[in-house]
């Protein structure tokens, strides 16, 4: 072994490669080092920290599948996806996509959408703190042309439409140790999560509502968003929908719309 003849960078390349290996041969430059019992301490710590973080960041998935399944799935994920930044509370952004293609999860088709909602919770929890709409701004909605106004989603607002799975019902019943039981009506569902103050809150949101918010996020005017919502569901009750969104604190401000 002659690591030192190379640079510090060579050492770190070889060490990082050896850390990733669950089986197989480590790079020759580091083979002797990786054979020492102490090397396993580093491997274990890296793996355990990643698995612990995923378990903490996806509590609803953990509750649905149990510790053993969750930690096994997390180990597979962590084996191919190390954190790309040191804030482990944000680790696992694409864990839902991983679950969608994770063969052992094939019999639980709702799992990826439920994971998306756990992720929405995390993003809402750590988002920037912003004030919501004030009364003066709300007044603009009734006194101005809606094609000249834009509703800006609140920094903490996250929404997700699950087309085929009752993901919101499953998620909200399992996110906390609730007592709500009963049959689940098996159809698509959406959800809106917001953090108007310190705590993340959530509610069901229909497809038209999700489309409305998508359009707002993509800088559409209020009129554009309303039209998109009606295109999504011709029977959508726009007045009730906007009231729901406003009550949830889904918007931070109203801007004058400039067509780009």
């Amino acid at each position: 072994m002659n690591i030192v003849a190379g640079s510090l960078a060579n050492f770190q390349d070889a060490f990082a490669a050896a850390l990733r290996l669950d089986a197989g041969s480590p790079p020759p430059a580091i083979a002797a080092l990786a054979r020492q019992p102490g090397f396993q301490v580093y491997r274990n710590t890296v793996a355990r920290s990643c698995i612990d973080a995923l378990q903490a960041n996806y509590p609803t998935i953990n509750r649905l599948v149990g510790d053993e399944w969750m930690r096994a799935a997390a180990a597979v994920y962590a084996g191919s996806t190390l954190p790309d930044r040191p804030m482990l509370l944000a680790y696992g952004a694409d864990f839902a996509d991983f679950l969608r293609h994770f063969e052992p999860a094939a019999s639980l088709p709702y799992l990826p959408d439920v994971a998306r909602l756990d992720r929405c919770w995390t993003e809402a929890h750590i988002a920037a703190t912003e004030a919501g709409l004030n009364h003066g701004e709300l007044g603009m909605l009734s006194g101005s042309r809606l094609d000249r106004l834009r509703l800006v989603p609140h920094a903490s607002a996250r929404w997700h439409w699950s087309g085929e799975q009752p993901a919101y019902t499953i998620w909200s019943r399992n996110r906390a140790a609730g007592t709500e039981t009963g049959d689940i009506d098996w159809h698509g569902e959406g959800a809106l999560l917001t953090r108007p103050q310190d705590h993340v809150t959530w509610r069901a949101l229909d497809f038209a509502g999700c489309v409305f918010l998508d359009c707002c996020k993509n800088s559409g005017s209020v009129a554009d968003a309303a039209q998109a919502a009606l295109d999504a569901d011709v029977n959508a009750d726009l007045g009730r929908m906007i009231t729901t969104l406003l009550e949830a604190g889904a918007f931070s401000r109203i801007e004058h719309y400039r067509q780009s």
Binding site: G38, V41, T45, P86, M87, I126, A127, A128, A155
Partner: protein, 279 residues
């Protein structure tokens, strides 16, 4: 910051309320800044509330100062933002690496202490101190591997970093005990050789044994009370260098706040004795 720091505690979310209410003299709290690098929300609000009542220490695990690369500018910017916002009494980092080529390895990884590494790390510490506009303390890590090619003893390496950058040091006594047992050197010799004048903070923590190898491989697990041998080393240390801010570091198998406060009181008592001796 003129606050006189005695013994402090790691601050975990489970203990936020107890920490807020506690009014013990000289008490301070330490957090990992990486857990607070968020844009907003309750985590920052909690920390700011604690900061209103107690001094804080930011103890980083991810600047990756020993990587053969400059510190990630985005990470440094987030750290600077926290330092401005929280005005911590202490800021520290480790003599180790963790982020490398865009991947974060959540551990404190070792390296051969070569002169090349010394130059790189000194540059990284200077960049960090310039960016934060303050002195930081560098901590000795726990060791588990016999690495070939060390050109410097760790104590001399740290002394040279101090000389080149003006940084301070964080002496983790439990890491000395663990490393001494794993690597086969005398912990007391290491403590005696440590550049005591530059110690800004001391860490005390518990350790565990490797599940397979037992006593032959100790692990710096922060999941148990401080071991008697570590307390003994600590007493010798502060008799020699005088009292310094001392942290009871606990990350896992978290006991009640009261139990941690009992350990913290023991450290405070020893610090008081060292202060009386120094007077």
């Amino acid at each position: 910051m003129t606050t006189f720091l005695t013994a402090g505690l790691s601050l975990k979310p489970q203990h936020f309320d107890a920490a807020l209410e506690c009014s013990a003299a000289g008490l301070w709290f330490e957090v990992h800044p990486e857990n607070c690098m968020v844009e907003g929300g309750p985590r920052l609000a909690w920390l700011e509330a604690v900061r209103q009542r107690h001094p804080l220490s930011l103890h980083g695990v991810a600047l990756s100062l020993a990587a053969d690369a400059r510190p990630d500018p985005a990470h440094l910017l987030r750290l600077s933002g926290l330092v401005r916002r929280l005005e911590p009494a202490l800021v520290s980092e480790h003599l180790s690496w963790s982020s490398w080529r865009g991947a974060y390895h959540p551990d404190l990884l070792p390296f051969p202490r070569t002169t090349q590494a010394l130059l790189r790390i000194a540059d990284n510490i200077s960049r960090t101190q310039d960016s934060l506009k303050r002195r930081i303390a560098i901590e000795n890590p726990a060791h588990y591997l016999h690495i070939e090619g060390h050109e410097h003893e760790e104590t001399a390496f740290l002394a040279e970093l101090v000389r080149r950058t003006g940084c301070g040091l964080l002496l983790d006594v439990n890491n000395v005990h663990v490393s001494a047992r794993n690597m086969g050197f005398a912990a007391q010799d290491y403590i005696n050789a440590f550049p005591g004048d530059h110690v800004m903070e001391i860490h005390l923590a518990g350790h565990s044994q490797d599940p397979n190898l037992g006593e032959a491989l100790l692990i710096d697990s922060h999941d148990a009370p401080v071991a008697p041998a570590v307390w003994t080393l600590y007493e010798c240390l502060i008799r020699r260098i005088g009292p310094r801010p001392t942290l009871i570091e606990r990350d896992d198998s978290l006991p009640s706040f009261d139990e941690l406060m009992r350990e913290r009181r023991h450290a405070s008592t020893l610090l008081g004795a060292a202060l009386a001796q120094a007077a």
